[in-house]
């Protein structure tokens, strides 16, 4: 059975796309079969990280939802492009807001239709994981992807507004009975690792949410300009090994 992991944050620019792409790649390198979906239609980022030009996108997940194409026509196999030998990575872009599209099709059955499309993708590619990158905030489609997931990864920076929003998302996840895991990103460089861990643990404790881990602010990540999968281009960087640890942590959730 495919496990769906939604990566979300209340505010923009927290690193959702970076984290989604790197975790998905790390899981694949660990032999898993992973599908990645971009549901951030305001600011899609994954195709840039995966180096996919718009012309290469012939069909999208929306076409699968409409039953217009079979799942394998709406995904791009990434192994060859990224030089991944182990596991499998597939990327599925989206075209219009899935939530809105589903509403016009069948109000009240959005969740069912969407989970069926994910299950279809899961079965045809024998996926272990589907990771969904979202746009920030809480709107209809983000609620839908929260509703459809098995695990919600909430990304936050150490910032007053981010953390406030994280509390809101945690509260909503709890109401939907979805297990939520916090990843704190861009922890200031000046902070000692032990202090950062303490701080992050404190945030988790405050909102009673599981902490999956944290990533420091990294000049190397920032200067990679989101043009590649960081762990593949900078495998020896300390942040790359943190991504790998996070991937192992994700694998331990069942």
């Amino acid at each position: 059975m495919v496990r769906t992991i939604t990566v979300h944050s209340f505010k923009g620019g927290t690193g959702k796309s970076t984290i989604t792409a790197n975790l998905a790649t790390a899981l694949a390198a660990r032999g898993r079969r992973v599908g990645v979906m971009d549901m951030d239609l305001e600011g899609p980022g994954l195709h840039v990280i995966f180096n996919i030009t718009p012309e290469e996108v012939k069909h999208t997940l929306n076409d699968v939802l409409l039953d217009a194409v079979s799942p394998d026509e709406a995904v791009i196999p990434m192994n060859g492009r990224l030089g991944l030998e182990a596991g499998s990575l597939y990327f599925s872009p989206a075209s219009v807001r899935v939530g809105e599209m589903l509403r016009t099709l069948r109000t009240g059955f959005e969740l069912e239709s969407f989970s069926r499309a994910i299950a279809k993708l899961g079965t045809s590619f024998k996926l272990d994981y589907v990771m969904i990158d979202t746009h920030p905030g809480i709107e209809n489609d983000t609620l839908l992807v929260m509703g459809v997931c098995d695990h919600l990864v909430i990304v936050s920076r150490i910032d007053q507004q981010d953390i406030f929003g994280t509390g809101v998302v945690v509260d909503i996840a709890r109401t939907l009975e979805k297990p939520a895991h916090l990843v704190v990103n861009m922890v200031p460089k000046g902070l000692k690792a032990s202090d950062a861990s303490k701080l992050v643990k404190g945030i988790g404790h405050h909102f009673k949410v599981d902490v999956a881990g944290w990533l420091p602010f990294s000049d190397a990540v920032q200067s990679s300009l989101s043009k590649s999968v960081f762990i593949l281009t900078n495998p020896r960087d300390a942040v790359a090994s943190r991504f790998q640890d996070l991937a192992k942590q994700l694998e331990s959730y069942n």
Binding site: A86, G108, L176, P235
Partner: protein, 519 residues
């Protein structure tokens, strides 16, 4: 009043006209259509639960009586029938019958094709408005993958009769055949044959012969046997932490899709360093341990950190052509730098000033092999000389030893000489060893310029200390945070979302989905 009534009349006229138009648009005279379906379309010899026969009629005239005669011809040519009459409740209706229970003289006791014909007797007579067929076999499926059981059922033998079952492939009997089994008291034969991973693939024929019963249609049928796949149960790494140069030993067991362990063949492991460099490592089946095993000696130049091993997709091939897996579990292990063990030899006894003394050092990596590339230095410390005189050693590949020489100088005192050898390479592998010897220096001479050297060394050490201190100071910038998050405000914000209609709808849908999964 007159005007009003004229208006009313017009209105009625318009209404009637539009009604007429609306009725005219409905296709009352569309052709009646009949669809026959049989579910399942293939079954085994057995009278129960049978097959559901559904006739669906569309384009019928509502209120009109309809009658049908359903006729089934079995593979022996025997016929059975059933009739159904109904008054069409609308333009479409359907009814279901069970074959054989709803048919006179119906049975499923022969293999082959059962043809179903539907004739209409009312309102108009038509010899065939729909037809279909049912396939009956002895086996539960017509294609199998190796390691799955072939389940056989046959009907219409005598009570407790001993029957002979033959399964052949290319005219040869399959292992364990013929088999003799007894029918149950109602004359049913049940048999299950578990296919093995090594059976030839292709067409098989199954035949059942009664001891006394001779059936009108011989119980004989063919099925296809195909290759099967494998799954990996879990990979084991003998040591969870290894030093470079040691060999990581992996083992795993594999199962066939239908069950049972894979007991032959080979596979490829993908051993991934933290930087995603992949090494393909062959694994072979070891009959003694009953597991697939592989070993990989971790090179001295490889990366430290967490490594992963998994079975490459579809790389496992057994001796019979079965292969897999689709995906594999992974195992992690830690790689650390090699700690080198250093053994050395230094002369003892009398040394004459100006003579050259050899230093031999045998340096090995954790796996016991000789360390041959790197930097190796010896520090020779006569009494009162804690830092020692550095001598660079070179690797002598013929002796597999590191060799250097020390020239005894006039100011080297007699006493206990300490000799230390340190080895390292650019990848962080390192180690050291030391030895001491009682040395008597023959012919003493006055001291000279070494004082300057001492001073310089001491100054250098102090300067280095200062630099490190400065560096530490720079890094000691502290970082403080005062984050205040009001839980009350958080829950108010969340409530705003939770009061939205869409949120409620999603929540209900999740609950419905959970109930669906639970039941």
């Amino acid at each position: 009043m007159g005007i009003l009534s004229r208006k009313t009349k017009t209105l009625i006229l318009v209404l009637v006209a539009s009604l007429f138009l609306a009725v005219g648009l409905v296709p009352v005279h569309a052709a009646t259509q009949y669809a026959l379906s049989l579910n399942p379309g293939r079954t085994q010899e057995q009278s129960s639960p049978g097959v559901t026969v559904t006739l669906t009629v569309t384009g019928a005239s509502s209120g009109q009586p309809y009658s049908f005669l359903l006729l089934v011809t079995d593979p022996s040519g025997a016929k059975s029938n059933a009739t159904r009459s109904t008054i069409a409740p609308g333009s479409a209706f359907s009814f279901q019958l069970n074959y054989p229970s709803d048919f006179s003289r119906g049975s499923i006791k022969y293999v082959g094709q059962y043809n179903v014909n539907v004739a209409q007797t009312t309102p108009s007579v038509s010899a065939s408005v729909a037809s279909g067929h049912l396939d009956v076999g002895l086996t539960d499926k017509s294609t199998y993958e190796r390691t799955y059981p072939v389940s056989i059922k046959a009907d219409a033998y005598s009570s407790n009769e001993t029957v002979r079952i033959d399964i052949t492939h290319a005219s040869l009997s399959a292992p364990d055949f013929p088999a003799f089994v007894n029918a149950d008291p109602s004359g049913n034969v049940f048999f299950s044959w578990l296919t093995t991973p090594d059976l030839p693939i292709g067409n098989y024929n199954v035949t059942i012969t009664g001891g006394s019963t001779v059936k009108a249609v011989r119980d004989s049928q063919s099925f296809l046997l195909d290759l099967t796949g494998v799954t990996i149960r879990g990979i084991n790494v003998a040591q969870s932490s290894l030093m470079r140069s040691q060999t990581a030993r992996f083992s795993f067991s594999a199962d066939y899709l239908g069950g049972g362990p894979v007991q032959s063949g080979f596979a490829t492991l993908l051993v991934t360093q933290p930087d995603f460099t992949i090494q393909q490592v062959p694994a072979t089946y070891n009959a003694t341990s009953a597991r697939f095993e592989a070993g990989y000696r971790i090179p001295l130049v490889s990366m430290n950190g967490s490594w992963t091993a998994l079975v490459k997709a579809n790389s496992l091939q057994d001796s019979y052509g079965n292969s897999g897996p689709d995906s594999s579990p992974s195992a992690d292990f830690i790689v650390t730098p090699a700690s080198l063990s250093v053994d050395l030899n230094f002369t003892r006894g009398d040394i004459v000033i100006g003579n050259v003394v050899a230093i031999y050092s045998n340096i090995t990596t954790p796996d016991g092999s000789s360390f041959a590339a790197g930097t190796v230095s010896a520090f020779v410390s006569p009494p009162g000389r804690p830092i020692g005189n550095q001598v660079n050693l070179l690797y002598d590949s013929s002796q597999r030893k590191w060799v250097g020489s020390y020239t005894v100088s006039t100011n080297d005192p007699s006493g206990v000489w300490l000799v230390k050898v340190s080895a390292s390479d650019p990848y962080g592998n390192s180690g050291s060893g030391s030895t001491s010897s009682i040395v008597t220096v023959v012919a003493p001479v006055s001291q000279g310029s070494t004082l300057t050297l001492w001073f310089l060394t001491a100054f250098g050490a102090i300067a280095a200390g200062l630099l490190v201190g400065l560096f530490l100071l720079r890094r000691k910038r502290t970082f403080q945070h005062h984050l205040q998050v009001d839980l009350q405000a958080v829950s108010e914000e969340a409530s705003k979302v939770k009061n939205q209609e869409f949120f409620q709808s999603i929540k209900e849908q999740i609950e419905k989905q959970r109930e669906g999964k639970g039941s």
